[in-house]
Amino acid sequence: MSAGVEGKLDVLDPQDHARFEQLVLPHLDAAFNLSRWLLHGRADAEDVAQESMMRAFRFFRGFHGGDARAWLLQIVRNTCYTWLEKNRSVDLTTEFDEELHPQPSVSPEALAIAGDNRERLTRALEELPVRFREVLILRELEGCSYKEIAAITSVPIGTVMSALARARQRLQRVLTQPAPQQKQEARREL
């Protein structure tokens, strides 16, 4: 995917340009991190993060102060979803499980052991439906408040807490129950 930059970028006066560099550009890491976790691949994430930054630049006149990171991440999220619709629509149709599953009782120790394996934790996160993954990434890696998460993901603030609850329980389940895929891999190794 190209950066998709239409027309000239030079639409901001020097003062706004400098403000953009000061307020928005420092959040490039956040933009990349969110893209990487929403899209999986680093190369795609790099393209999408770049396109998001250019969009943010073009829309910067519409930013009237406030939380620049949340504003940028909202654009990143929308750009990621557009990319997913185009390239991997199956990721978006994966059920967004509204039902609350009974939670098997898990010992914190077992969970700690499973969770401390970086590869396993990464895979578990990547297996989550994208809507679960995004709230977890925003909360756990980006340290966003519920208010910021609500703004970035365009959901009412009241539903952020339950979305996080479901996402964490799902992650916990994936971590402590070997996925069928892993069983197959284990069998192949034998």
Partner: protein
């Protein structure tokens, strides 16, 4: 599995998002609900696993360069010609950022519990990050304090203390002018092994103070006032290294 609070309030509690009254209610509930206690422990364990495994992925240097190129970002105009940063310097900075990534995100829990992060601290962190972008680090690049110190003359209304501590393991790299929260400041750049430390200096009318430390976004900072100057040291080096530099600057 029956307590519905494990599906809702428990998470608000875990994330510090409940108001005081609701948090106190939940703590009372914990006394009588073993299920919530277990669930809370499990969630805390999951949370610390995520923090420990350092899953955050910073923007690769290639992305940073592409974005800067598209934006036409140029090194800040400066009174002295800015030298081109050597490629190795960019690599060193990238390595520093990688280290910050691996170290920094482990500091997040402490950051979370101490969400005070003043505006000034944020401004300093932003200025530090900005300085790590290519061409932004130094306006005057010299390891000689007798070159760096006169360079500030006439550019500021105060004379920042400039000393080289190469023998103590903190070689001076250069200096630059910067603007932090609307005031003109002097910045001294020191190296510590492969890492860079920015020391922001500006005059203050307030009395001398003991050093105050903190961290934000994985960067450690230390601030203090001495002899009419306010100093903020920030870097991805350990707090101990910053304290060592503080001691040297106080001598």
């Amino acid at each position: 599995m029956s307590c519905e609070l494990t599906q809702t309030v428990l998470h608000g509690y875990l994330d510090g998002e409940l108001d005081a009254a609701r948090a106190a209610d939940f703590e009372r509930h914990l006394i009588s609900c073993a299920e919530c206690v277990t669930a809370l422990e499990a969630q805390e364990s999951l949370h610390s696993s995520i923090q420990r495994t350092a899953l955050y992925e910073r923007a690769p240097a290639s992305l940073r360069q592409k974005v800067q190129k598209e934006l036409g970002t140029r090194p800040r105009s400066s009174v002295t010609p800015i030298r081109n940063p050597a490629p190795w310097r960019w690599l060193a900075i990238a390595a520093t950022l990688l280290l910050a990534l691996s170290l920094g995100w482990r500091l997040l829990p402490s950051l979370r519990s101490n969400r005070t992060g003043t505006m000034l601290a944020s401004a300093i962190v932003d200025a530090h990050l900005r300085s790590l972008q290519p061409g932004h680090l130094e306006d005057v690049q010299s390891t000689d304090q007798h070159t760096v110190k006169p360079w500030f003359d006439g550019k500021l209304t105060f004379a920042p203390p400039v000393h080289d501590f190469v023998n103590e393991g903190f070689p001076l790299q250069g200096g630059r002018l910067d603007v932090v929260s609307g005031r003109n400041v002097a910045v001294l750049v020191y190296a510590r092994r492969k890492h860079l430390i920015n020391v922001f200096v500006w005059p203050t009318a307030e009395a001398d103070s003991e050093p105050l430390s903190g961290s934000q976004l994985g960067y450690n900072w230390l601030e203090w006032r001495k002899s009419g100057m306010e100093l903020h040291a920030i870097s991805d080096v350990s707090p101990e290294d910053l304290t060592a530099l503080h001691r040297l600057l106080m001598e």
